[in-house]
Symmetry: C2
């Protein structure tokens, strides 16, 4: 009697023809919706005959489960979100790909959200409302302050990635920024460099954040070698773009800055630096050695190949997902704050 025929309450526009529902399949196969649900979800106690009949109807009508409805009812969406600033920053793209690959065996679904690397973007991408649609979120924080991150609903499974200080109450995985920068700079010193510019570094006293920490590593390597870290060697581009870095090193050198090596805070910056050095007629590594940070896919195939810090994204991803799975399983253990190890990959831009 309660068939949905004259649609009393305007069925929301599904862009044309309505998709068949469990009810339709139930009607077509002469069973209850619950039985159809059981079949569709592969639950045990269904007789083979019924199963076949239902499956036939599913097939004929082209039934597909409505994930929104399931999600509303079940409280789980089966989807994890990875929130990164932008996919066209190769480091984040490679991170996203690594997460996707790592998630493949688990059968979970991943979507990538872009925040735009701004506070506003992150705030909107991270609105509780949005996040609620996912079973778990891997959040790469760039713009937000830790106090803002701390305001996020504590009950949502969330693992933080990124190089800023984070609320202690949340799981957080970060790269060995300090260690990597120190490693890179020490290696340059060891290879004879004495005037090592840091492109993408900061003069700021704040030694937190990706830039601050890496600059700290650069400083520490100098100190460890008993060398002076000349502040004029700190070149701070506003973004970490190739074009900008290229121009910055070029201007510095044309302006008379003496440099026999560059530690670029990212491989993107390093690529710009290599181009800029070439613009100045300087040869890499003969005149100026270069070390980057990120070990992008492309870095291996530059000419010469870029010596760089491998941030071990594989470890970052594995640990992050371990922590996230734990939270999604409802575990309430103390938050972990991990700093992954890094390693130096030596290629042709160093002597």
């Amino acid at each position: 009697m309660s068939r949905t025929q004259s649609v009393p309450l305007g069925r929301p526009r599904q862009y044309g023809i309505d998709m068949p529902t469990l009810k339709d399949v139930a009607k077509a196969s002469g069973v209850s919706v619950m039985t159809v649900s059981n079949v569709v979800n592969g639950r045990p106690r269904v007789s083979e005959a019924t199963r076949q009949r239902v499956l036939a109807a599913v097939d004929e009508l082209g039934y597909q489960v409505n994930l929104t409805a399931r999600s509303l009812r079940a409280g789980r969406s089966g989807t994890i979100a990875l929130s990164i600033p932008r996919v066209d920053h190769p480091y984040f793209a490679e991170l996203a790909a690594a997460v996707t690959d790592a998630l493949l065996p688990s059968g979970r679904h991943l979507v990538v959200e872009q925040t735009g690397a701004s506070r506003e973007g992150e705030l909107s991408a991270l609105s509780q409302a949005r996040l609620q649609m996912y079973d778990g979120v891997l959040l790469s924080v760039v713009g937000l302050k830790d106090s803002e991150v701390a305001r996020l609903n504590g009950d949502m499974p969330l693992v933080l990635l990124g190089e800023k200080p984070m609320p202690t109450a949340r799981d957080h995985v970060q790269l060995g920024n300090f260690e990597g920068a120190q490693l890179a700079t020490s290696y340059l010193i060891q290879r004879g460099a004495r005037r090592i510019a840091i492109v993408g570094g900061t003069l700021d006293a704040d030694h937190t954040g990706m830039v601050g920490t890496r600059t700290g590593g650069w400083r520490a390597a100098h100190a460890a070698a008993g060398l002076d870290a000349d502040v004029r060697l700190v070149l701070p581009p506003a973004h970490f773009a190739m074009a900008e870095s290229r121009e910055m090193i070029r201007n510095a050198i044309k302006g008379g800055l003496l440099v026999d090596a560059v530690f670029a805070v990212t491989d993107q910056v390093a690529i710009g630096v290599m181009a800029g050095l070439h613009d100045c007629g300087l040869r890499v590594p003969h005149d100026v050695q270069v070390v980057g940070f990120d070990d992008l896919d492309v870095s291996e195939h530059l000419v010469p190949g870029l010596t760089t810090v491998d941030p071990r994204v594989d470890l970052v991803v594995a640990e992050s997902l371990r922590l996230l799975e734990r939270r999604m399983a409802g575990e309430e253990s103390d938050a972990e704050h991990l700093v992954m190890p890094v390693r130096l990959v030596v290629r042709g831009t160093t002597r």
Copy 2:
């Protein structure tokens, strides 16, 4: 009386504390859920006093709309999906970023789905069920056959991107593959090249798809110049990876292949080729000229800068979104099939 206190029907696990609902806000502010809904959605007929009271309660309880529920009821999610093979393929990453930027002013939300460039991946990412969660989908097809794409629900707003033949019933935007390849090859011929390898080309007679079409352009340019396109110059890597392309050109040259130029079907391939040529002691562009296709961000900053075909992703994105908006608005006009113009960007890898 009907307060949710002893949860008769197990409220689905929302990972801990329940989020407040409209009902909670309604109770707290002494109005009906409907009024709260009206306030929350900024609908007109609500008295200022009521609005303030509701807003206060929203604030106090930290209410956030449940997008899943809204989506189920309203039939719209406010979200668009961009489905691409992988985000760590720079071309797709840049495409995704371009879509994101283009969508920004509209206030729409975008999520990126990765299909993994396989038929299976695409089929699963494209299950009707998944797609139903979005108001519109921009689908970059790689693995699927057009017949499989054709089976997708015709009522879902969907615009196809990609270089394969597509069902005529769906909107489809593609790059000027043939034109670009011809442009690149003709330019090389014009610059004196006579032995132009195509790395990433195919010997297949099938002249559809990205590879087939670009190989066709390479062939056509030869024909137009009255030259012979030597099939030994067609080097077909299985994927479009840098490492693979590098090895392939290296082996070919060590194996005695005479080459004075390379048309690489993508910039990724071109980067591998440049590295491979360097491995062989050949100089670019002095000994071998190189032209790519994609005009990636990095291509400008390689040393030497890569001459390449700019696929005008900006146009592709603008047109795709125009078509998608039209479908989302419910327009039923005939499907459009667009091929965007391209242009050659001349840099240092050609003479």
